[in-house]
Amino acid sequence: MKNSPQIEPPAHTLEQLLKLHDEAFVRSAYKAILGRTPDQGGLENYLSQVRAGIHKAHILAELAQSPEGRLNAAPAPGLHLAIAQYAKHASSLWVRMFRWLGNASVESTDRQLRIMDNRLYLVEQAVAQQTSQFVELLTLPNQVARTFAELKAAIAEKQRE
């Protein structure tokens, strides 16, 4: 995907993985747990889950417990166990809070927060990308400036017609 962040440093620990967002998170999770880059279908599936506010630990657990995940325990030793424990912990904590409140509002608020968090990340990425593109364009060779001027002149002339 074109608007994706550039190559992320590999994430090896659960903590590092959970700090990542959006596509960077899905790609790193695949790398760490399955030892490969995601296929298009998998990428789209998990990306839509992250963007819908599904807890990242949940996704990691799902990957780790998939048949392929079980086979590929090697790439990140210890990570599987940590994920399983974290997911268990998160869900049990969950259940308790859920009972305490007696309704689903916590889940939906929490989920909304995760969605917002991820969106904020995407906005930051977009701003950074625009800025770097702009800086790049500012340092372009003279030839481009001439072409730019030519285009502007042609457009202006057309507008006068």
Partner: protein, 472 residues
């Protein structure tokens, strides 16, 4: 003659589909049969990952300096309205690149692209003197608009692509049936369309897999008896349902010896639809096998081990699975609709796809009449030999040669580099009139124009082009 081939059809998601494979196979066969002609490949810089793969796949066929890569500011997918300025200027930019490279002839391997990805295809955004051919695969959306062109944006996108196709100096149809459709539905003069046909990849051959290996693949996929088979994408026009009905109508005693294997990628709904239909018709659960998506190696094994291949489709541009099956030596019968009779090439092996009765009768004949079965088997071999990529490429090259000979000297007045540039600037300004762009968009376009311009200049300065152009 210098031939420039637009190979974007092999760069985008369609490279998994038939069109991507067709584009690549045709381009390679043209390179191998080019003789004194020089071939160049045009690729889109918005698909950076695909460029090295394609270059590598031409290793030993085409030198690395024969590739021209143009760039444009993306994204340009047409179905997203926010892309309109970028898409329209990208189309102009691509045509400008072709115009400045000025090949003797241009071949576009796939025009109907770019609805949802960054493929950029058009013809006629600029006034150009480059004689241009385009491959025409089918006009299926026009034949069934209620199914394929329901949404307005899709309809507009498709119409734009068909308009571009109509502006080609010559169309290369992949079957006579498709050529006839274009003459009838698009009002193309017969002289402007030529059937260059199709071929199957050479790995579809009885030599690619032994019968015992084919049997073990079948066992792995849940096939335990002899089997009838159909293979395609899962769409209504492919008539999987009709085949299930015809199979169910076979006499019990005959049917019991054969399973029905339907090879296609299925989602849950599709799987349920077919299983429900089979159940309603009283078929035992193991009578029909749905292996889902299979690898190419498994597909070849399935063709090879199949007792009878049945291709009941209503609508095709060509009907490649029927040819692939015959290339594997498998007796094949099929529908008498659109291009399929050309592919199967035997009147006795055809049925009306809308008639369960006819389909059942012909299947039954193939399964019980030994003489007929043997004739289908020997026909498969002779018919398969009638199609080859070399022949298809030679037809395309001959079409381009005729086109260049017929075209004569280029029209006066727009040949100079300065005139081409004015032509391009004028076209961009025309787009800007209706949707004024901001300076940032203009600057990005300026950079892409220069990048692409430099790519053309580098290619023109390279050894490949500095050598005197071969005579047209």
């Amino acid at each position: 003659m210098r031939i420039l081939i637009d190979l974007q059809g092999a760069q985008n998601a369609s490279h998994h589909r038939g069109i991507g494979r067709y584009s690549l196979a045709l381009a390679k066969a043209i390179c191998q049969n080019a003789g004194a002609h020089q071939v160049f490949i045009l690729l889109n810089g918005l698909f950076p990952e695909s460029i090295e793969d394609i270059r590598a796949s031409f290793f030993e066929t085409l030198a690395a300096d024969r590739f021209l890569i143009f760039t444009a500011p993306g994204p340009v997918a047409e179905l997203r309205p926010e892309n309109t300025w970028r898409r329209r200027t990208a189309e102009i930019l691509r045509e400008y690149v072709i115009d400045t490279f000025a090949p003797d002839a241009m071949l576009i391997t796939s025009m109907v692209e770019g609805a949802e990805d960054d493929t950029i295809t058009s013809l006629g955004s600029l006034i150009s003197t480059v004689p241009t051919a385009a491959v025409l695969y089918d006009l299926i959306p026009l034949m069934d608009p209620d199914r394929y062109l329901r949404q307005e944006p899709v309809r507009l996108w498709y119409r734009g692509k068909v308009d571009s196709l109509c502006r080609a100096d010559i169309l290369f149809a992949i079957s006579q049936s498709t050529a006839n459709d274009a003459i009838r539905m698009l009002d193309i003069e017969p002289a402007r369309i030529k059937n260059i046909s199709t071929a199957a990849d050479s790995i579809f051959s009885p030599l690619s897999v032994s019968l015992s290996d084919a049997t073990s693949v079948a066992r792995r996929l849940g096939i335990v008896r002899k089997y009838l088979m159909h293979s395609s994408v899962f769409e209504a026009r492919k008539n999987f349902q009709g085949l299930i009905r015809a199979y169910a109508a076979l006499p019990e005693a005959v049917r019991a010896d054969y399973q029905l294997v339907l090879v296609c990628k299925l989602d849950v709904a599709g799987q349920e639809e077919l299983t429900t239909l089979a159940g309603k018709l009283g078929l035992a659960p193991d009578a029909m096998v749905l292996p889902g998506f299979v690898t190419e190696a498994d597909l070849i094994a399935l063709y090879r081990g199949c007792h009878l291949f049945v291709f009941p489709s209503f609508l095709e541009g060509f009907g490649l699975p029927a040819l692939e099956a015959m290339c594997c030596g498998t007796p094949t019968i099929g529908s008498n609709a659109t291009s399929i009779p050309e592919v199967i090439g035997c009147k006795d092996a055809l049925f009306d796809p809308a008639s369960t009765q006819e389909m059942t009768a012909l299947i039954l004949k193939a399964l019980t009449d030994v003489g007929f079965y043997q004739s289908l088997k020997s026909h498969a071999k002779t018919q398969a030999a009638r199609f080859s990529w070399d022949q298809t490429a030679l037809r395309a090259i001959a079409g381009l040669e005729e086109l260049v000979a017929r075209r004569g000297p280029p029209a006066h007045g727009i040949e100079s580099a300065a005139a081409k540039r004015r032509n391009m600037l004028e076209a961009v300004a025309e787009v800007a009139r209706n949707m004024p762009p901001n300076d940032f968009e203009i600057l990005k376009l300026a950079r892409s124009i220069d990048d692409s311009h430099n790519a053309v200049a580098r290619l023109k300065a390279s050894a490949a082009v500095r050598a005197p152009a071969p005579a047209p």
